[in-house]
């Protein structure tokens, strides 16, 4: 694949330019989240990342360069880890646009961004937040609880090595495969297959998180007809982890309808205080 690029590429004309491009792209794309806005999210920095490459393709201070920069002011939002692929792809399309002139459909550059950011965000978030982070935390937390250096170190390594590899090779892949391939891949549904598989893993992990890390137990107990009545004992007989599960599902049902997480947070704080003052929770473990 690289041989092909060297033969026909008007942008990455030689090995040293190729090195320069991938390295520069890698260091610049890390800044993608600085600074997001409500209206355009990552768009401004997206164009900032591509700036030196657009400059090289179209020439400094040329109309083509400024048109390209303006083109990339369109709304963009995806998992930052997945963005380098899109950036690589976009750079190769900009090059094509410059080479072919009018015969190239410029709108396809924005179109492919818009088409990719949604599926990529779904894929990236489930890989990074649903799977990678949880696995890294699960391994590291035991060491951290003992105050050992190994804990945070392991977390950072397990979490970031795949994170950085995906960014580095994502950019290379994006530049080399070309938009026809991406369009074809999207059409034949391979993204859907990967996203679905990762969603399965992600959903299992958050189901496990619900049981493991949401702590919601009652400590209410009373003497009834000469017998000790323990509320939590009854609940555990119905279903272990019933309350955490119910809490997560309630939050989920509400947040899916109305995206107001702060309200939910305040509601939980109030609920916890009220239940504790009533003596249902927060007493000595029953």
């Amino acid at each position: 694949m690289t041989e092909q690029v060297q033969k026909t590429d008007s942008f990455l004309t030689d090995k040293s330019t190729e090195k320069w491009f991938y390295r520069k792209l890698f260091w610049r794309q890390n800044w993608l989240m600085f600074c997001t806005s409500y209206t355009k999210q990552q768009a401004v920095t997206y164009s900032w990342v591509l700036e030196p490459f657009l400059k090289k393709i179209y020439g400094e201070d040329s109309d083509g360069f400024y048109n390209a920069m303006l083109r990339h002011q369109d709304f963009f939002n995806t998992t930052p880890m997945m963005a380098p692929f899109v950036m690589g792809l976009n750079t190769s399309m900009e090059r094509e646009n410059h080479d072919k002139g009018k015969s190239f459909d410029v709108s396809s550059i924005a179109a492919i961004k818009a088409a990719l950011m949604g599926p990529f965000a779904g894929l990236g978030d489930s890989v990074q937040q649903g799977a990678l982070r949880i696995i890294a935390t699960g391994i590291a937390i035991g060491f951290c609880q003992k105050g050992m250096w190994l804990g945070p170190l392991l977390f950072l390594l397990i979490y970031n090595i795949p994170n950085m590899l995906i960014r580095w090779y994502g950019a290379k892949l994006g530049y080399t495969v070309g938009q026809d391939f991406v369009a074809k891949t999207m059409a034949n549904g391979i993204f859907k297959v990967i996203t679905k598989a990762v969603s399965v893993l992600g959903l299992m992990m958050i189901g496990a998180m619900t049981a493991q890390y949401v702590t919601f137990t009652t400590t209410y107990q009373a003497k009834m007809a000469g017998q000790m009545f323990k509320l939590q004992g009854v609940l555990d007989q119905i279903l272990p982890g019933l309350l955490p599960l119910a809490l997560v599902l309630c939050c989920f049902a509400y947040l899916r309808k109305k995206n107001r997480p702060v309200r939910v947070l305040v509601a939980i704080l109030v609920l916890a205080l009220v239940l504790t003052l009533l003596g249902v929770t927060g007493g000595k473990a029953a």
């Binding site: 997001t36 201070d61 400024y66 949880i134 970031n160 598989a197 399965v200 299992m204 890390y213 939980i268």
Partner: protein, 268 residues
């Protein structure tokens, strides 16, 4: 106090930088606690408080700019006060909760400013002034980092004595209530994560993951192990189905060339 305040300001800046730069994961309480601990000279306390905070915020994530709690900020201050007032971990947790919720306000204010700047970026490009565009971008980034430094500095300078008095004044039942809330709050982050992954047809997998831990006391690593196996099975099954469907439709292109392209996609 002055030195400590400067150091916490620095810790907050580093944490906010590594939260966004390459999504290095510095916002996780484990890492944030470590950073504060190192800078304040109590690394192992920092790591331990960070671990306790990590459990509280494990379900909390920031996705697509939606950040219900600024748990990174909460962890920095929680750990810092925990170390500086040499108080219990539960106090650090209780302090970090309201701070993390207030922290989102600070960030929202900044984001409103960043949003107001968007038309100016565009205007600079329309005026063919790339230098002004770059300058504005650098200013934006600088303000973002400086804002957190200032917040960390002022928070410790102005807050330490007040927090000390406050912690002493909080009645025990309220403290218990906050501890209960700390256990319940991960539900919000988990629910937010669920929204991004949810598909009615996939719902059973969520309950399977729940069941493995709730009924069989499985660990996260065990669930991950089983989960990866299942994910691969699902993907392989779907790929096989897709090929069958492709072959069944007359319009489908030769599937052999298709699979070659896929291999390229994965191998590269």
């Amino acid at each position: 106090m002055l030195v400590n305040a400067l150091l916490v300001g620095l810790a907050l800046t580093i944490q906010k930088w590594g939260d966004w730069y390459g999504s290095l994961g510095f916002n996780r309480p484990m890492v944030a606690g470590t950073i504060v601990g190192i800078l304040l000279g109590h690394p192992s306390e920092g790591i331990m408080i960070g671990a306790a905070l990590e459990l509280v915020y494990l379900g909390s994530i920031s996705l697509g700019g939606v950040m219900p709690q600024d748990f990174g900020l909460g962890s920095i201050f929680g750990t810092a006060f925990g170390i500086l007032l040499s108080s219990k971990t539960s106090v650090a947790i209780a302090l970090s909760l309201p701070i993390s919720m207030l922290g989102t306000l600070v960030y929202q204010l900044f984001k409103i400013w960043a949003t107001a700047l968007v038309p100016r970026f565009e205007a600079h490009l329309k005026a063919h002034n790339i230098k002004a565009f770059n300058r504005l971008w650098q200013i934006q980034r600088g303000v973002y980092l400086l804002m957190w430094f200032t917040l960390g500095f002022v928070g410790i300078m102005a807050g330490t004595n007040a927090i000390k008095a406050l912690v002493a004044a909080i009645p025990q039942p309220i403290m218990n209530g906050l501890t209960v809330a700390a256990g319940m709050l991960p539900a919000v982050g988990i629910a937010l994560l669920m929204i991004t992954l949810w598909d009615k047809k996939l719902a059973p997998w969520f309950f399977l993951g729940f069941g493995i831990v709730a009924f069989f006391k499985g660990t996260m690593i065990e669930v991950a192990f089983i989960g990866i196996c299942i994910a691969v099975l699902v993907a392989v099954g779907d790929l096989a189905n897709r090929h069958n469907n492709n072959n069944a439709t007359p319009a489908a292109t030769a599937s052999s060339s298709d699979s070659k392209v896929e291999e390229d996609f994965f191998n590269d």
